[in-house]
Symmetry: C2
Subunit: 331 residues, 2 copies
């Protein structure tokens, strides 16, 4: 029961395969009636074009790739959902490549993109991607690369980012304004090697400084995951000088700290005020009202996908750095 090909159709009608191909592509040169005949027969015989042959012939594959450092329940699903929607809308498939926060795998993934004929790539970098030369080959060979969220620091490129510094300032200013003389404001951050972390730490520093408060580096805590956040907060709370207010740079750390506050039986915001940067789902799930600056993964994904397809369709070429909106939410 092997698949019916263009040749089969041609044979039946006694025409040339190339004619069939043209007819199916609505080439104007084919006579109307022949075109109709061919199309009908193709339909009848259940013809489906062989995508692999088309890919080889065209050197591309109606597929875009999404390269991500980790698959977590926060952020990733909404990003992915948005990207999938845009890809599907344009008849593209989505290849998901997971780097597992390992540069070596990121490099492999970039290679896979090259051999496999994807037409564009959306990348969020690993913690260790200090340089991104492994994506150069792709760019050179005409495969556009759009970086989003975790983007390269010192390299120019197509980028879609969360304005992390500004978002942090918004969040921390809220903390400062909405509470009388906080003893100690601490910040919980992700991996310090990431530029998104650095931006947010800088925002934290600036917000404090602008409010005429001193910024102590020991008030910034760097944790690699939820669990570390939980442990770190427990220790911090039981220390000599526990914080009165907390800034959380992501859902990941928020989740950990929240668990700790439950374990400790803390009342929020009475015992401890918390403000976060969040995709928006987690805060709604919690009994405590946690104000947050929304950095929508869905929005980020949409924007990055649009940007990528604009490049693929040659509506854009120059490097841009697009920032998404970050509304403050206080339900």
């Amino acid at each position: 029961m092997s698949r019916v090909t263009i040749k089969d159709i041609a044979r039946v009608l006694g025409v040339n395969p190339s004619t069939v191909s043209r007819a199916l592509h609505n080439h104007p040169d084919v006579s109307i009636e022949l075109k109709a005949n061919i199309k009908q027969l193709a339909e009848q015989m259940g013809y489906k074009p062989n995508q692999m042959a088309i890919n080889l012939r065209n050197g591309k594959s109606k597929t875009i790739a999404l390269i991500i450092p980790e698959i977590s329940m926060f952020f990733f699903p909404s990003v992915m959902k948005a990207i999938e929607e845009e890809a599907h809308k344009r008849g593209y498939n989505l290849l998901v490549l997971h780097s597992n926060d390992d540069v070596q795998r990121e490099i492999q993934n970039a290679e896979i993109c090259a051999f496999t004929g994807v037409e564009g790539v959306l990348v969020s970098l690993t913690k260790e991607s200090f340089e991104t030369s492994h994506f150069l080959d792709l760019s050179y060979s005409g495969v556009p690369v759009v970086y989003f969220d975790k983007v390269p620091n010192n390299i120019q490129g197509h980028k879609v980012i969360v304005p992390g510094k500004e978002a942090t300032i918004q969040a921390v200013e809220y903390l400062i304004q909405h509470s009388e003389n906080h003893q100690r404001i601490c910040g919980f951050f992700g991996d310090p090697r990431l530029s998104i972390t650095q931006d947010r730490v800088e925002g934290f520093r600036q917000a404090l400084t602008q409010a005429n408060r001193l910024f102590y580096i020991q008030d910034a805590f760097f944790v690699n995951n939820s669990q570390k956040a939980e442990e770190t907060f427990l220790t911090l709370w039981n220390s000599a000088n526990p914080p009165s207010a907390l800034f959380m740079m992501s859902d990941e750390v928020l989740a950990g700290v929240i668990k700790a506050t439950h374990a400790l039986g803390l009342n929020i915001p009475q015992d401890l005020q918390i403000v976060a940067i969040s995709d928006g789902y987690l805060p709604l799930l919690l009994p405590q009202k946690i104000p947050y600056v929304e950095t929508s993964g869905y929005q980020l994904g949409k924007t990055a996908a649009f940007y990528l397809f604009d490049i693929i369709n040659e509506k854009k070429t120059e490097f841009e750095t697009i920032s998404i909106e970050t509304p403050f939410r206080n339900a």
Copy 2:
């Protein structure tokens, strides 16, 4: 800067392309030194095989597809993570196809799998997939299809499932045992068209019956998403006869109901006892200790992927229905 091919290498060394191909595949017939030469030169010239050509030639693509009805923050990330790991381990790529709970799209996705040369497919069905003949073509043409989680009801096939009835019985029995004479036990379920929903409703019924309680169909609530769950519970709680205990068939509905309990200021388990079937992450996030039967998406994904690769590698052929473990958790 077009990519270097086997022909280029052959030309440089004055040998035949097929020899190069053989050498690179470690074919025993090629002389050791020639093989060494070829490999070295290939390395030097930065040769990378053209995956599209290989795909066309072989009629397959070192890719598996994952067809899912929806991209949500629960379940999906852990399933996907497990599948990605197994695929990567075996040098396979992962094409993610989203059906958006629409049979038409599921049918399209099945077709994409066929044209695109994927070597295997993992499917979780939409709410509307009452029949699955659209996957028959794939199976016939030798592309194995493994159904997982939302599987077809009356059709035989390769399946990996959560033993939903048993899990529900476990959960509801806990509810019955750990509380004196509940006035009313209600169950919150997903879409009634899904076999996983039907299984769980049946479990709910059996658990009640076995405990010599009557099963009232009006105690089973069917909600399509978190928000509906939230609304439904609010109404229910404000009704004449609010429940004293609740069974949640998934994280999705649990999330909604939890939000409602927060809005109502309910104490759990004092005001209302809740038990759930869950992937395990959400209950840990909440201040209330919610006992749950764990149905690990990660486990499900792993199992389904293993099963699929066993078929691809011809270690298995007959239809099986594998159930994953569902441990009871009460942290």
